[in-house]
Symmetry: C2
Subunit: 366 residues, 2 copies
């Protein structure tokens, strides 16, 4: 009730003393994961109870965090091996979804009760955060929490890679390795929605897992799913079943990257956005010279920094949200763990290097 | 005298019967190298005497060929390992310079006595050729024959690579490996002319050859010359001596390519146009993702096909010719061999795989 009144007051006047409203934070607590040094995530992180500051500024918003994905980049950040190193002590977590609790007197884009996704933010792995209102996008409450919480990274990466490198038409072909990763699954779903044929490469594995995975990816919209060995011998690009791919997406590196490169059409582009095999990409020089193949890279973090608040960014979030709402984009197979059990997630993420097949989420209110 | 009269007649009327003038070719001979199968160049080639056809068409020109460079692509074409395979029997040779002997009745761009470079032509390794007049550019007789004869490949490759991939400003830095190749030397001379700082990587070799080569490249305009080992430990990009390169040119592949890649500035582009080491280019995925490095390829043959007769092509040849005339571009260290001794050149080209340090030219009138 008090919150509702506040919201009305905020809208009524922007000249009101923000310090007055700042007092509402007094005694509000947050549980947060923090690390004071870089290193083994299991060892350097701890869960602490903190008071939120007594007041918030006129442009700030208090968000009760609901859910946050655990991304490989979060693990690498704690390890100190990610190119962006936060000042220590720091709280991990680069994305998530929450609910607005209260807003500063100058805030006009959200009101208490709104569901929001924070954009440029470190430290989403806590039960409440204070952020600048310009750093929030309001999202529809109808959208599945797991799906929307990850909108900033994997769905956005998949979207940009399909849009920004090659001008694809319906029935053009895109090929990707690491197709069962969270981002790979988004690539399949978006390519299916955009009506691009998509050829998906996965590592081999024993049956029935292999067949189950293939069926799962096909259910998401995969046109073809091959193991690396199957790609080497397939004739679909030779017998006219499919045109050669004009775009390849590489999140693996090593031989896997070379194989998808070899299938590319003349003038095609391979975009590298990950290197799960930890091996470099090796390219015969003839592919550059005589086939005019191009290799580029993509890093969502760079794109987001260069496009904060741009029309393109707004359009992308709008389109992705709609696809999530209508079920075209769904979260990867996942497991949700209470914030209090975060060490279990970190332990698992470090030991499997992300090759789990299951994406972890933290429930930040448990 | 007769030729002069013909030229006057040609200019006087375009309606004259071309068959009349066709008769002048009767009994004109050409000595040409031919090969009837792909294979070892020394074995599959022979020198034959041929009559030129009795008549030429209205748009055709007879060119007495003077000089032709021997390029690695020529050797690979005879071997059958080049991506473009001519119909057999074929005459090798993709560039050269000659003198117009006679012209068909519709020819307006050249007259007998003009010095010309044939463009899209196979078979320059012969003493006389018949080509369509649109396939000739007239060049200044003041320009050194060795230098102008190669204008289509190495100087043009160097020009396009410096112009088309990164918008460089004065004092921007370009780095290249294989810097002592014919094309590498053109890159140095053009970069020097355009006032780009250029860092040149060569393979190590015993003294005094190493110092002599460094001095030679510096005399052409090299800002720095390093061996691959020296590049690995130099501090010039770290201590502020030079900005990091925005463009890298790779004609070697393998470790050499990886080393010049590592020196590139964020967002830099490496252009591959050769692979002398026969080893693939290996790139850590992090360079793509976090440094936004791009890899592209360049093949002069493709560019020329896509830009036949374009304003860009004309501008390039004009500019390069002027630079040759004024001494900014000079031919690489070379040795000229009579057409009759061509097997000696082929033997040498095959056994050294181009790593000679001396470029061979054929004197087509000896």
């Amino acid at each position: 009730m008090y919150l509702k009144l506040r919201s009305v007051l905020n809208k009524a006047t922007l000249l009101v003393d923000s310090e007055l409203f700042g007092t509402i934070n007094r005694n509000m607590n947050t549980r947060r994961i923090v690390f004071e040094e870089f290193g083994d995530p299991v060892k350097v992180t701890k869960l602490v109870d903190d008071k939120l500051p007594d007041s918030i500024a006129q442009e700030e918003v208090i968000v009760k965090m609901l859910l946050a994905p655990v991304n490989p980049a979060d693990i690498n950040t704690i390890q100190g091996v990610y190119p962006i190193k936060p000042k220590l002590p720091s709280s991990p977590g680069n994305e998530g979804v929450g609910e607005v609790i209260s807003v500063g007197s100058n805030v006009t884009n959200v009101v208490p009760g709104d569901r929001v996704v924070p954009l440029q933010t470190n430290g989403t792995w806590q039960s409440a955060i204070i952020v600048n209102s310009s750093n929030l996008i309001k999202v529809d409450k109808d959208i599945d929490l797991h799906t929307i919480s990850g909108i900033k990274s994997n769905p956005s990466t998949a979207y940009r890679m399909l849009k920004d490198f090659v001008s694809l038409n319906e029935d053009d072909v895109v090929i990707q390795n690491g197709a069962n990763s969270a981002c790979g699954q988004n690539v399949i779903q978006l390519a299916h929605y955009f009506k691009y044929k998509n050829v998906n490469i996965i590592r081999s594995r024993p049956q029935p897992d292999l067949e189950n995975l293939k069926n799962h990816l096909k259910s998401l919209g995969a046109t073809y799913v091959f193991t690396e060995e199957e790609l080497r011998v397939t004739n679909i690009f030779k017998d006219g079943t499919l045109p050669k791919p004009r775009l390849a997406l590489n999140s693996v590196g090593g031989k896997s990257a070379t194989e998808i490169l070899r299938s590319l059409d003349n003038g095609g582009i391979m975009v590298t956005y990950g290197g799960m095999s930890r091996e470099p990409v090796a390219i015969p020089t003839s592919l550059f010279i005589f086939k005019d193949i191009q290799l580029k890279g993509f890093w969502m973090t760079r794109w987001s920094k260069q496009n904060i608040g741009s029309a393109e960014q707004q359009q992308m979030y709008h389109e992705l949200s709609q696809l999530m709402k209508n079920g075209y984009l769904v979260a990867p197979t996942n497991k949700t763990v209470p914030l209090g059990s975060f060490k279990q997630v970190l332990q698992n993420s470090v030991s499997t290097k992300g090759f789990t097949g299951v994406k972890y989420f933290l429930d930040l209110q448990k």
